[in-house]
């Protein structure tokens, strides 16, 4: 077991390294030169441009840059922003908690709401509850987030005055953004768990359970749901990725701090070290979460535990 986890961790490390490599290469290949953003090309002399390129180190061959970047990365040095020479890592560390809080709250919300809706929907298949639950679920994945976010904001903040419209201090400011993002997650979960419930309900052992005289409640909640949730657990990893991505938009809408906004801005400014840093960082988070999911999966599902 420990060995299996170690193995996973090792391959995860490779994936992280790979993703940073990939980003490096993509950003390298994309048109545009970070120097453009720093210097006025129409007035600068070629020497000035060359010297700036040299100072930034972008004049070296790709492999040298790569080696340099990874060498520093291994020492925990994420480099400095090209634009304001702020060190990248502290910047990420400063902004990550807000994004994490958002992602975690939305994931929690989507799991709770999603599972609830899915169960209602599956248990009352083809009844009106099913219809409502499915539509709610589908709406979650059918609405552009910035729109649903603004709608929620107008309703709950401006109109009803229940919750703050923006900011990233305190749980109250978390509610609306998390609800907006959670709606998406809930949509995915409803679909997944409902399908998986319907599949489980067709399994033979459900007939056995009924033939034992168990109440429908036990059959559905103690047995069917638990089985149906197992595949849904794998979704949590995916969900966290989804939430991190959603943060890019949501953080802007609700004026929250977070790495989503930082990376969006950095991409637009071709601030490579910042983009790199955030992506490597989020890749690490993604991989960690998935590793955790895999490990917990084997605890939840006895079949997997045996195979491991």
């Amino acid at each position: 077991m420990v060995r299996a986890i170690l193995g996973r961790a090792l391959s995860s490390l490779l994936v992280v390294a790979g993703s940073s490599l990939l980003v490096f290469v993509i950003m390298y290949l994309l048109p545009g030169d970070p120097v453009d953003s720093l210097i006025d090309p129409s007035s600068a002399t070629p020497e000035q441009i060359a010297s700036l390129r040299h100072q930034l180190g972008v004049d070296r061959p790709l492999y040298v840059q790569l080696a340099d970047y990874f060498g520093k990365l291994l020492q925990g040095d994420f480099g400095k922003s090209l634009l304001n020479s702020e060190p990248v890592l502290p910047k990420i560390v400063e902004h990550f908690p807000a994004t994490l809080a958002l992602a975690a709250a939305s994931a929690l919300l989507s799991v709770v709401a999603g599972v609830l809706l899915a169960v209602l929907s599956a248990v009352h298949r083809n009844r009106w509850i099913d219809v409502v639950a499915r539509i709610v679920g589908l709406l979650g994945i059918s609405m552009p987030t910035f729109w649903s976010g603004i709608l929620l904001l107008l309703i709950f903040s401006v109109h009803l005055g229940w919750l703050p419209a923006m900011g990233s201090d305190g749980w109250r400011t978390l509610v609306l953004p998390a609800a907006t993002l959670g709606l998406i997650g809930a949509g995915f979960i409803v679909r997944m768990v409902r399908n998986s419930m319907l599949e489980v309900v067709n399994e033979h052992f459900i007939v056995t359970l009924r033939s034992k005289g168990l109440s429908e409640r036990s059959v559905m909640y103690r047995h069917a749901l638990r089985n149906a949730l197992i595949p849904a657990v794998t979704m949590i990893g995916m969900l966290v990725g989804e939430m991190l991505a959603g943060a890019v938009v949501i953080e802007t809408v609700f004026s929250r701090q977070g790495i989503g906004r930082i990376v969006a801005d950095a991409i637009l400014a071709k601030d490579l070290p910042v983009v790199q840093g955030v992506i490597v960082f989020s890749a690490i988070v993604y991989v960690l979460v998935n590793l955790l999911v895999d490990i917990s999966y084997s605890y939840i599902d006895p079949r997997v535990r045996r195979a491991a």
Partner: protein, 563 residues
Amino acid sequence: MRRRNSYSGAATLLLAVALVLSACAGGGNNGSGGNNNGASGGEAEASSAAPSAGQASAETPVQGGELTYALATSPDTLDPGRSGLAVASRVYRTIFDNLVVKDENNEIKPWLATEWTVSDDGLSYTFKLRQDVKFQDDTPFNAEAVKFTFDRILDPSTAAGNSAAALSPYTSSEIIDDYTIKLNLASPSRAFLVNLTQSTLAIVSPTAAKKYGDQFGKNPVGTGPFRFVKWEENAEIAVERNPDYHWGPETVSNQGPAYLDKITFKIVPEEATRIGSVQSKQVLAAETVPPQNIVALKSDPNFQLLQADTGGLPYTLFINQNKEPWNELKARQALQYGVDVGTIVKTLYLGTYQQAWSALTPGIFGYDASLENSVQPDAAKAGQLLDELGWTVGADGIREKDGKKLTLHYVDGSPNREKRNDIAVIVQQQLKKIGIQVDVEITKDVLTKVFKNDDYDIYGNSQVNVDPNALYQFYHTAAPGALGNLAHVSDPQLDQWLEQGAVEKDEAKRAEIYKNVQQFIKDNVVILPIYVFPYTVAASNSVKGLAFDSVGYPQFGGVYIQK
């Protein structure tokens, strides 16, 4: 690593970068003085002739409390010497003071300087300083601090922004005694004293500036009514009352310590969220209210809407004369007749913005009011002018000449600040009616597109400024590497007027010169002026005493919150 020689143009670039990177405020931006183009998020500052639309209060101010104030964009840095953004000024104005201040009547009044004299040749200014002032870090304010502040702007390693342009043609300081200083200029300038009122030339604490170096923008220390507390990137900036303050200028209602304990500036770029946070009372005030909300908020008894006109160069569309056929006057005139600016302004700004008629805004010295209503849209005339040039209407309604379609490449920046993208949309439709196909390109990378590649037929820009001398940069034949002249206009007569205007001592003559300039610009259709931007603040009724200075920046010292 970042050193700039050419002060005239580079700031533009940096402003663009700063906006693009609005999330990454801080001390990184290099550059020096100059203009503000549309790519940036706020107005570059300068002084303004327009009087503030402040709010006089008869009631007794309430001591204490916190004002929350939503900003539309994030400041780039709080270092006056380096900032390029108006939004930054609005924040650091609370922390810093200037030597002098300009009142509603364009008169220069004392602030940190008590009196001043100008040498006869106009090449040096001598200031007497207040002796009872100290910085928030307890550094004493004296001639040394003034010298340090201005020399620091000249120092290339500071990577000064707009401040360098404002300071020009300053060369050096002489400390006469602890509280007397003489500033030397390279050439006489009619604008220098006025420019000293600009927030970019605020006096900084030498101790702190040396200590923090390029991180001073994140740890600003001045003599202002508030002192810096914290800056959480993308979230908020907090300042608290400076209890020792008692040197406010006569232009503000409260010269003593501020009434407020604290101001928290929240950074809320999304319009709906910003307005929503005022409406939900999460913040007490929010700046830059979109026109449609202005209309709605004005009728809401729970809120007040404060408005201050900004002055300088209005938002104008520059027609690139390097491009055919726009190098021909008739073609530009066709645009002038074809674009119905009145409708545009009415449609988009719902009566909250003024239509611009000249290269200058109304409040500015030398503004030529006779130009107002001098241009009326006339599609038929436009068509006729184009016909004369040989552009005939083709089968698809677009004019052609020699098999070439008449197209106009309209470049605008993103995001859609002040609905400028929407202007493009309307212009596109209006010009389609006279047979011009407008290709609108919205780009984040204005820098490359417009300034580097010169790849546009029309590009819009504006600048908040005080003195008509601002026209120089935009309409004088461009020096190599200078970037302001977006229209690429080059006319000896125009150049001469602009040079004269910079030094002319006679007010009346000077006004006449600038009227000629404006007339020329209009007659030659160098630009299409569109609108004058008003700075707007929506606030709860409990916010009292919020006034604006001559530039349209809010003054927080007199603000209090009524319980």
